[in-house]
């Protein structure tokens, strides 16, 4: 149960951020700020607004021209289990990689949870982004299973 909660909060923070970073958005940093403002719980901040507990808030261009790779580091979000912070790598406007920089590691249980939750977060966010889908059809999930589902990630992203 606790595992599901952790995953859900990571997904909420991560996916809101990620789904805002579609190629048709005007500028990634801008999109993140917008989503942050809408949800009040997302991790991202654009350059110049790196407040809160974030360490390296802001967007950093690491290449120029077509297909430029870019990394965006979000501000750490305080979840009930501890701070969570993600870094997103964009390649030609598409997310190519998500790194989770900070996550709860107070005890062995946290580490176990995260070894499971973080790959799921990555997989779900990348799947949602690459598919650009509105809704998911899948084998009937339980109310509990929903919190780990791609549908949950999509619903969170719409909030």
């Amino acid at each position: 149960m606790r595992r599901a909660v952790i995953t859900a909060s990571a997904t909420a923070a991560g996916v809101v951020l990620l789904l805002s970073l579609k190629p048709h958005d005007a500028s990634p940093a801008h999109a993140i700020s917008a989503s942050n403002a809408n949800t009040g719980n997302a991790a991202g901040t654009g350059s110049g607004t790196g407040a809160g507990t974030g360490s390296t808030g802001g967007a950093t261009d690491t290449a120029q021209g077509g297909g430029a790779a870019q990394t965006v580091t979000g501000t750490a979000v305080n979840t009930r289990y501890g701070p969570v912070q993600v870094k997103v790598t964009l390649d030609g406007g598409k997310i190519s990689k998500i790194d989770v920089l900070q996550y709860p590691t107070r005890d062995r249980r946290d580490q176990e949870i995260n070894s499971y939750a973080i790959p799921v977060l990555n997989q779900e966010a990348l799947a949602a982004q690459s598919a650009d889908i509105d809704v998911v059809s899948g084998a009937t999930y339980t109310s509990d299973g929903y919190t780990r589902s791609l549908q949950s990630a999509l619903d969170q992203a719409k909030k």
Partner: protein, 237 residues
């Protein structure tokens, strides 16, 4: 601006997205939520005091039951006939029309939204989807990779139902053998109306491979089977 609502009910989660919200959308969503909880109270097999549980124990006569119970069971009987007994309101011997009720509840929600003036919306319940208008992009969950999408269906006015073993394990019973069906990893059907599409998905899943997909092929139903080895097979796709 899309209006969204997520409701935990009937042991699963219903998600509603309305692309053309108007003044009637909020009240319509409230009516839908009330109705979903009412359907759960009447039809749940997990609630000992639901009408379905009481009918099953012989404590409530069908004639005394909510008229919707009679309508649902009559429709289930038609589907039992159409599917050669592979869809039934008594899959494990006991009265359990759940295989019908969820898809029907989703379709009812869509009907309520249409009545409120919405022509573009999407309702899903436990992974079964009814859309109106569009285009909507519906990802089909990959049963072998949690969180990943195996295929995407795009279109207008589509219903998409998936039966599978991914989360709950083998839980669809072949009524003819009383054994759990598990020869497909998942089976996804696309049609116009979710209630029927969902029931046909359950029936074809219970038939198992290769019969289920062949039966759907002959009926002209669009379907995707994902096999336990990951192979994908389609018909009328």
């Amino acid at each position: 601006m899309t209006a969204n609502h997520v409701e935990h009910v009937m042991g699963t989660v219903f998600s509603i997205a309305v692309r053309d919200p108007g003044p009637e959308t909020g009240p319509a969503i409230r009516r839908i939520v009330e109705r979903l909880h009412r359907i759960d109270a009447v039809f749940s097999t997990y609630r000992p005091q639901s009408e379905v549980s009481r009918i099953d124990r012989g404590e409530l006569a069908l004639a005394e039951a909510d008229p919707e119970v009679r309508q649902v069971l009559a429709r289930c009987a038609e589907l039992t006939a159409e599917t050669g007994g592979y869809f039934t309101a008594r899959p494990g011997g006991r009265l359990d029309p759940s295989g019908y009720v969820k898809g029907w509840a989703v379709e009812e929600a869509s009907r309520t939204l249409r009545g409120s003036g919405s022509a573009h919306h999407c309702v899903s319940g436990g992974g079964d989807v009814q859309t109106a208008g569009g285009p909507w992009r519906i990802g089909i969950a990959d049963p072998h990779r949690e969180g990943a999408v195996a295929r995407v269906v795009t279109g207008h006015d589509l219903a998409v139902a998936t039966s599978g073993t991914a989360e709950r394990g083998p839980h669809i019973i072949d009524p003819h053998t009383a054994l759990p069906a598990d020869s497909y990893a998942s089976l996804t059907l696309v049609g116009p109306h979710l209630t029927r599409t969902d029931a046909l998905a359950t029936a074809a899943f219970a038939m198992g491979a290769p019969r289920g997909l062949r039966w759907l092929a002959a009926k002209g139903v669009r379907a995707l089977a994902i096999h336990p080895d990951g192979r994908q097979e389609t018909t009328n796709w």
